[in-house]
Symmetry: C2
Subunit: 203 residues, 2 copies
């Protein structure tokens, strides 16, 4: 399988963590990608018209995206239990994933606004709206995290990628100060090999 | 069940179409919602920190989001086959859904840029990047639509909602002129009761 890859994309990281958890990361050939909302990468667009990473090319040549689809596919391929099959735990897991993805969407939009857009076109209300979303999401995670101590599924992987992305790009938010239970949870989960590992394109 | 609802949200429409297809739309009590990325609706935020529609409150009081999660939940509740259970058809269906959702995300961002953001802060490159995504997605749909004539699943529902949203907000794109196969497909699918129907809050 081939995966359009970026070392800093939190959505790519979700896929890599799933693959590593299921012993499949060696099966992924990583392809370079220069995805940006204003300068699209034609090599990705050819396979995924949205021009986004992650995009997976399966061994049968089918293109799969986005991260939710790819993670579920990899889970199936590896006969994993990162996506509970049915019942309350499934809805909990995929709603938690949606919350983490939503936090990330907000963080990406805030970042594009401050790092990609010309300075003079920045709209403060927009950035503040996205930051509010990040904080509401963190508050919700903080309130429910005690309930998640003994489980590990796609929701937790997405939460770990969200917190990791805040460390990478929003260090100034100092989220650990306001969300102490999340801090402890993140320390614990970061001991897993799949979360510790960093991935890079082959040189 | 209760659903935070907006009559113009294409993601809400996905949920309503699934519910109607499975005979469950009468079971949804629609709640008013004023979701906006800069002015968040506290009644939604209390249940979904992302403050977005659709958000579903199940009869057990659990909050589920986003549209993908809710649609799958409703499909399960109604023992439907809008989400193929496994195999190639599942990956096809949920990747098609991701493509439609991606088109909608791009359309929403283009709309926020031109209708929500103060005029003097509009960035043309950003709008053009989103419009390019819309056109690449439509081109891809056009190329594969012949393959979809005899099936109906969440991918097709999402595509119908995407085209309906372009009619609502991007009439000036005149997509039917450039994508004749999609035009025919949309005419055909629009004969279904669930696609024809319009929903409104109870008065």
């Amino acid at each position: 399988m081939k995966l359009f890859f970026s070392p800093t994309s939190p959505y790519v990281r979700k896929v890599m963590i799933c693959a590593h958890e299921l012993g499949l990361s060696e099966k992924l050939e990583l392809l370079p990608a220069k995805a940006s909302p204003v300068n699209r990468d034609p090599s990705i667009v050819e396979k995924n018209p949205l021009g986004k990473v992650p995009t997976l090319l399966t061994s049968e040549g089918r293109a799969l995206y986005d991260s939710r689809v790819i993670c579920e596919y990899i889970n199936e391929l590896g006969s994993g239990n990162l996506f509970p099959k049915s019942g309350a735990l499934r809805w909990e897991a995929i709603t938690l994933q949606a919350l983490g993805d939503g936090l990330l969407d907000a963080a990406l939009l805030a970042r594009y606004e401050t790092f990609l857009r010309p300075k003079e076109l920045c709209w403060t209300d927009w950035v503040n709206g996205q930051l509010e979303k990040i904080h509401s999401a963190l508050t919700d995670f903080e309130m429910q995290i005690d309930h998640h101590k003994d489980t590990f599924h796609i929701g937790h992987i997405t939460l770990a990628c969200s917190l990791g992305y805040l460390d990478l790009r929003f260090e100034h938010l100092e989220w650990r100060k306001s969300y102490p239970k999340l801090k402890t949870w993140f320390e614990e989960i970061s001991k897993r090999e799949s979360i510790k590992k960093e991935w890079a394109l082959p040189t």
